[in-house]
Symmetry: C2
Subunit: 208 residues, 2 copies
DNA sequence: TCTTTTGGCTAATGATTATTAGCTTACATA
DNA sequence: TATGTAAGCTAATAATCATTAGCCAAAAGA
């Protein structure tokens, strides 16, 4: 149906992730994955040695994607820091754009979204995945935002309040609204408006 | 082992919830539940007509508990509103206590915690549960906090900013830190400190 | 062109599953 | 005391599951 260009091996991964992200690993049968790909169950084993193996491949794949994603942030971050124009870019509209882009990326990027849902389901039965979940959706975004705000405080653009708390005020509403919108696409507009108001208030409060 | 006073029927519910909250409904076998209770699988059917039936009973049970919980909030809320001493109670320390109590209730109350984890796992495969999740952990807490802040604004205790955004700044960090601590009990202290700092900053910012 | 590899298939296996049938025992009630 | 019911048990059933064996055709490589 979709992804005509992908190899069978890749399509297995893709369809498996789609199914795992809704029903969870153990509720999805190999036959179901095969059916979604358009082959029979035993053919799956020509590509992966077990169902677990498919799962591991998904994790590995997402690990690579995530490293690429954070690397791209790091680069544009570093460049931005060196860029003289950076601080002038920290306007209200730019900050709103940043927040909304982050939100929409997490919400609409097919792979990220499915992977996040799968992690959400599997986190309680797998210690490694629990750690990965907290790292990707709490610790790292907070750390990143925190370091940005710390810089803006040093530059006298924001008031000298605790940057970690500021990161909480900026990021945690986005995290919560993600959970709201995941299964309620109809509430996306409302969420976007909330994020915008949130950031305007953020600047009114913390801006100088 | 525990709950010596509960009937078998109640113990089935309790042990099933414990298992569902870790592995999810479909990954838990009836034999597993029976084993946790200390009986054999077929005996389960003397108390519930199917595995689904156990699940429904858990939902119904939690519905009742939740109604009791919100009713208790409503009463103490109304009383508080009428109470002349209420507004003088809105000190920094009292607000911190409120936030920390909310956090610790969600984090440590055995039933709430297990039910929340189960909802988290099952939300993507069950529309009803998805709605319940958003209602209990996003919409209603935000609505409640929002109405409290609205009142405090009218009374001139807080600055006239958007109370919905204020509720976001107050509640969403608690929601996020819950996800962090659920599978990392070691980080509870850090989270409590974060909540405290968050509320202190909240008051510094919004207080008059 | 010949041969090997790739990737599909059907059929089979053995484990696990939810659930039912039917037996037994203890207790509650008549 | 007699009897019915509640709640346990073992054994059985039928479905579903992951996985393996082994066959076949087409594509790739020699």
């Amino acid at each position: 149906m979709k992804n005509e260009k992908l190899s069978t091996k890749e399509r297995i991964l893709s369809e498996a992730l789609t199914l795992f992200s809704v029903k969870g690993f153990s509720s999805v049968s190999v036959a179901e994955i095969a059916n979604a790909v358009g082959i029979k169950a035993p053919s799956i084993y020509k590509h992966y040695k077990s169902k677990q193996d498919i799962f591991k491949a998904i994790i590995t794949d997402m690990d690579i994607r995530y490293k690429k994603y954070t690397a791209s942030l790091q680069i544009s971050g570093d460049e931005a820091l060196k860029d003289i124009g950076f601080f002038s870019m920290v306007t209200e509209e730019k900050l709103i754009e940043t927040g909304i882009k982050l939100f929409l990326y997490f919400l609409h990027d097919e792979h990220t979204k499915k992977f996040r849902k799968m992690l959400t389901i599997e986190q309680y039965s797998n210690t490694e995945l629990a750690a990965l979940y907290v790292k990707q959706y709490a610790d790292e975004p907070l750390l990143y935002q925190s370091s940005v705000f710390e810089l803006l405080i040093k530059e006298g653009i924001l008031k000298p309040e605790n940057p970690k708390v500021m990161a909480m005020h900026f990021y945690s509403p986005i995290y919560l609204l993600l959970a709201v919108c995941d299964e309620n696409p109809g509430r996306e507009g409302e969420a976007l408006q909330m994020i915008e108001e949130n950031i305007r208030q953020f600047i009114r409060i913390y801006g100088k």
